[in-house]
Amino acid sequence: MSHGPNTTEALYGLMAEFDNPTDLVEAANRARLEGYTAMDAYSPYPIEELNDALGLRRGSLPLIVLLGGVLGGLGGYALEFWTQVIQWPMNIGGRPFHSWPHFIPVTFECTILGASLAAFVGMLALNRLPMPYHPVFNVEAFSRASRDRFFLCIEAVDPKFDRHATQSFLKGLRPVGASDVAP
């Protein structure tokens, strides 16, 4: 990659590489304190401390899962009520058509099913996965993000982003490597 002085548009961001989780968490903390907001950290396993370091808020996923569970449960019960009471009532041993205790197991299973599907689909949707292409994969060293390396990427869309200033800021974090990320 060759870079002229005006290639900022053709840049997704700048990336620093670390060889241990502590340095990444510290780098993310420093970047946040420096005022950067459009950035992301990449690691081969979940690091809880990164959530605070990057200033990530708790998302809406638990609410989505709750909603999926409620819808699943209501749907299951409604299905039973409609088929057993309205659509095709049958006298089974003299029990009332709306014999609700019999409807509990299926309602329970449908609640779990609805919540689990909402969890899985919600996680993928909020993470915008599947995503076949992403600029960070343009960095050759990034293939180790799924093995043993840790990355911090400050994106060009950040209002505070300045090619040179950001680059020297990242260099000051003592990374084991630094690269430009092509879009």
Partner: protein, 472 residues
């Protein structure tokens, strides 16, 4: 151990704790790094050299899988009359094997979900293949109810609430339809949980694979996972939520399976102990199967550093606990048969103990109540070949338990004129051994094609993963 120590001597307490820790094997062999766990586990999948033992094992499994195919073809052309069950034993191998397989699956969910919620770090290296075992076991289990309909292509409206032109609906007051919902939900949620766990590892394989084909396949399956902190945060959220949802689910599944029996009015089935007793039996047999699979697997692929003696010990202890709950169930059944004062209940129990199937009843008691007492001894827990044999015996014992519950309760019912013996036919055995073949064949493919140990979770247990705490 610690409570025996003198608290006034902190030094002796600390050294005793250290001594205890030194005696307890770790969850991972010392000396591993992020890179070494990644390479060690990924290499099993990415290598071009398949161990010769794999081919041998797969061939045997495949042969039994072909027996399953043959049995199914025969069944579909002839009908379920090829099986040995007939009135009064209307249910036999089909439901015995169904319950046996579903039960085996339960250990996978226990390891992946319940132990996760309890922060049991040792689950990390066995959860992946235990979850795979769950999926394959449930798939084997589902074959029996599906095929016992005789015409499975019609099962769509027999089993599922599907808007058909006859406007027929399943009967939701029956435990059998609860079973359909419980098992399909269980399979779906287990699949989601398993696949969610696989996504980061598939990304690892995508990045490590040399061949373009492997890179493409793993790349598609990894969905573009890049390990972003934002993604990990949501990932961790739903991983815990799925664990929290799976926990009541797994308890409900075997509870509902036990309702198939407990809701009926038959002596030997109509018992309130059934739900907890079935759930404990499920976990017990499932851990036996995890052990049966783990012992050869760790030897064949040299995974002793990841599946350590700590795992083997803990699994043995869980089998001991759940096995004793099951043994309590047997005692409870016998006690209530006597205490009820009911002639039919009493007869059912004495027929179990002294009737024509008494041999199987006492075999089951010998295994599930007596043999497991061996697990109290450390020498036994350390003896890997013996544990392998014992875990196989537990599988047999739990199969016998279902055989006893089902057949001895049915074969001598209220009317002596309709009493009969149940003898399985070769097709019964063909179908049963066939599903074992299916299970093993799927498992062999799994360990070769996907990481059998969760790589990203293993990274969290290596020492490097601990953040340095000094401040700058």
């Amino acid at each position: 151990m610690a409570d025996r120590l003198d608290p006034s001597h902190p030094a002796s307490a600390a050294s005793a704790r250290e001594a205890l820790l030194a005696r307890t094997p770790g969850v991972i062999e010392p000396g591993h790094t992020f890179g070494s766990v990644t390479d060690r586990i990924a290499s099993i999948v990415l290598t071009h050299r398949t161990p010769i033992g794999w081919f041998f094992g797969f061939a045997v499994a495949f042969m039994f899988l072909m027996i399953l195919n043959l049995t199914i073809i025969k069944l579909l052309f002839t009908g379920i009359g090829i099986w040995g069950n007939n009135i009064p034993v209307g249910w036999a191998f089909d439901i015995i094997n169904f319950v046996w397989w579903i039960g085996i699956g339960h250990a996978g969910t226990l390891i992946s979900a319940i132990l996760l919620l309890f922060r049991q770090q040792w689950r990390t290296s066995i959860n992946r293949f235990a979850e795979a075992m769950t999926l394959f076991a449930v798939a084997c289990a589902a074959m029996f109810p599906l095929l016992h309909t005789g015409r499975p292509w019609l099962a769509a409206y027999w089993l599922l609430p599907y808007p058909n032109t006859m406007q027929l609906w399943p009967q939701f007051r029956s435990p059998l339809i609860w079973d359909v919902f419980a098992v399909t939900t269980y399979f779906t949620v287990s699949l989601l949980f398993w696949f969610t766990g696989l996504i980061p590892d598939l990304a690892t394989l995508r990045d490590a694979a040399q061949s373009k084909f492997a890179r493409t396949v793993f790349g598609v399956l990894a969905l573009g996972w890049r390990g972003s902190a934002r993604h990990w945060q949501r990932y961790e959220t739903i991983y815990l939520l799925l664990a929290g949802l799976s926990t009541p689910l797994v308890l409900s599944v075997h509870t509902v399976v036990s309702f198939d029996f407990a809701v009926s009015q038959l002596p030997g089935w109509h018992a309130t102990i059934f739900p907890p007793y079935f759930v404990a039996g499920a976990i017990y047999s499932g851990f036996a199967m995890v052990m049966t699979l783990a012992i050869p697997m760790r030897a064949a692929f040299g995974l002793e550093g990841f599946i350590t003696m700590r795992h083997i010990h803990n699994m043995t202890k869980i089998m001991l606990v759940t096995g004793m709950i099951v043994a309590y169930g047997y005692v409870n059944e016998a006690f209530f048969a006597w205490y009820s004062g009911n002639l039919y209940e009493e007869f059912m129990m004495s027929n179990r103990m002294t009737g024509p199937y008494a041999f199987f009843y006492w075999s089951l008691i010998s295994i599930n109540a007596l043999m497991i007492q061996l697990f109290w001894f450390r020498g036994v827990r350390d003896n890997i070949p013996l544990l392998f044999v014992l875990s196989l015996m537990v599988n047999v014992g739990m199969w016998l338990e279902r055989f006893i519950i089902i057949v001895t309760s049915l074969h001598r019912d209220f009317l002596p004129s309709s009493w009969d013996m149940y003898v399985p036919t070769r097709w019964d055995f063909g179908m049963f051994t066939g599903t074992i073949g299916l299970f093993l064949a799927l498992f062999f493919l799994f360990v070769r094609l996907l990481p059998a140990i969760s790589i990203f979770e293993m990274r969290t247990v290596v020492p490097e993963a601990k953040l340095r705490t000094e401040h700058h």
